[in-house]
């Protein structure tokens, strides 16, 4: 299938189908992640991020991550989100799909502590690699995020091709101190990507269209 035809199948997922977790095995997920790892470019071959794959057996972690998102929304909006979402008929937060996904991929920054031979030689010659020091890594977070965007997008395409659905969640607290319940999170999270088989999708509303093409893309005359 052509790339455009694959990606046009991407839809915003409200809930994944928990009864279909078994349709995406660990081997399947490993294969998709291997393909994305193989094909995603990385500046100077650092790939300064981790991808933590949280499977169907770790609902406890998914619930904790959901709570982090909820608390972050409360902090950002100043609203009592517990009360907001407890009103019957209220649309639940779209990041609620974290709780129903088969696999939750969590992307965090990663400090490179095992340089390859080329990188070591370049440093000896005076080249600076920002991803090789903690201060540099933190300063370069936007660049790392671009690479994460490319990796997750490819994961998305590979999943869609299998008939699975994906989502991207950016509403969470970046402050590492809020992640103490998850022992594997040692550096700043940059993206959450739930994967599964969609059950309910967000309806398209005409009042919420993306900006028109000419407002984003400008051919310089």
């Amino acid at each position: 299938m052509a790339i455009f035809d694959v990606y046009r199948n991407r839809r915003a997922v409200l809930d994944f189908d928990p009864t279909k977790h078994n349709l995406i095995s660990r081997v399947d997920m490993e294969h998709v992640l291997w393909q994305a790892w193989k094909c995603t470019p990385g500046k100077n071959n650092f790939m300064p991020y981790n991808v933590f794959a949280i499977g169907p057996d770790r609902q406890d972690y998914k619930n904790l991550i959901f709570e982090n998102c909820l608390a972050n929304e409360g902090k950002a909006t100043g609203l009592d989100v517990g009360a907001k979402y407890s009103v019957p008929g209220t649309l639940q937060p779209f990041y609620g799909n974290i709780k129903t996904c088969s696999w939750l991929l969590m992307y965090t920054l990663r400090l490179e502590d095992k340089l390859n031979a080329y990188q070591k030689n370049a440093i000896a010659r005076g080249q600076n690699f920002e991803y090789a020091t903690r201060a540099g890594m933190l300063k370069s977070q936007p660049s790392i995020t671009i690479e994460v965007g490319m990796f997750c997008d490819l994961v998305g395409g590979l999943c869609l091709e299998q008939g699975w659905d994906v989502s991207q969640v950016l509403c969470f607290n970046r402050n590492l101190s809020t992640w103490t319940g998850l022992p594997f999170v040692k550096d700043m999270p940059v993206l959450l990507q739930p994967v599964g088989i969609g059950l309910n999708y967000k309806p398209t509303t005409s009042g919420n269209r993306r900006p028109n093409f000419p407002r984003i893309v400008k051919f310089v005359e």
């Binding site: 790339i3 455009f4 990606y7 915003a12 490993e30 992640l33 291997w34 393909q35 790892w37 193989k38 094909c39 995603t40 990385g42 500046k43 650092f46 790939m47 981790n50 991808v51 933590f52 794959a53 499977g55 057996d57 972690y61 950002a76 909006t77 100043g78 609203l79 990663r110 490179e112 095992k114 390859n116 080329y118 005076g126 080249q127 600076n128 936007p142 660049s143 995020t145 671009i146 994460v148 965007g149 490319m150 997750c152 997008d153 998305g156 395409g157 991207q168 950016l170 940059v190 993206l191 009042g207 919420n208 993306r210 900006p211 093409f213 984003i216 893309v217 400008k218 051919f219 310089v220």
Partner: protein, 216 residues
């Protein structure tokens, strides 16, 4: 061709073939398709994409100089001396058919849904000058997604792409490029490759298990 087969063809480009110009209609279609299928948080798409065609060699040279001066500043090395015998990899900016410059974008025309959410107290970084910069990471992630899809579409059409992150982020350095009025995020040269970077055994990416971890 599968997604994997397409993206496996992506290679690091040292130099593009200046004789191969992507027709404007073709590049427009590829970018329009990427625009159509790239998701965005709250549908803001908080970035602009400026497309520099083959007629804009002067701008490409200016941007190349910004990359050089950035490297000079970061490494403290004399790039003129360093690149006496070889070109920096980002010199593919000079030979590409089209150079895409991604920058931050302020949303000054929120849609109906966004407006009503703002009336209910929601705050969106992309809609205010004072908060726009704090959304730089989100815009970067979405730019990465856009660039990835566009890359796949270009490869599918027989072209090559590159991604350049080594440039001055400081907007004041971009004063000679009049259309760049917000912080740049990514440079993406597109064209038909003439030379690819040779893979070196000593410069491999980190092993899969150093990047991907299955949580037990």
């Amino acid at each position: 061709m599968s997604v994997f087969e397409t993206y496996q063809k992506r290679r690091a480009v040292v130099e593009f073939d200046k004789n191969v110009i992507i027709p404007k209609g073709e590049i427009e279609t590829m970018i329009a398709r990427a625009w159509k299928v790239t998701p965005s948080k709250n549908n803001f798409m908080p970035y602009s994409i400026f497309v520099l065609g083959p007629e804009h060699q002067t701008y490409k040279e200016e941007i190349f100089q910004l990359c050089l001066s950035n490297e000079n500043r970061i490494d403290g090395t004399d790039t003129a001396l360093k690149y006496e015998d070889q070109d920096p990899f980002y010199s593919n900016i000079l030979s590409c058919s089209h150079l895409l410059v991604f920058t931050l974008r302020l949303e000054d025309k929120p849609n109906i849904f966004q407006k009503s959410a703002m009336l209910r107290g929601c705050k969106f970084e992309a809609t205010q000058e004072s908060t726009l910069q704090s959304g730089y990471s989100t815009a970067s992630l979405e730019t990465g997604m856009f660039a990835d899809i566009l890359g796949g579409l270009a490869i599918e059409n027989g072209y090559d792409v590159s991604h350049v992150l080594c440039f001055e982020r400081n907007l004041s350095c971009w004063s000679n490029i009049p259309f760049v009025t917000r912080t740049p995020i990514l440079l993406m040269p597109i064209g038909k490759a003439k030379r690819y970077k040779i893979a070196m055994g000593s410069n491999r990416r980190p092993n899969l298990d150093r990047i991907v971890n299955f949580v037990s």
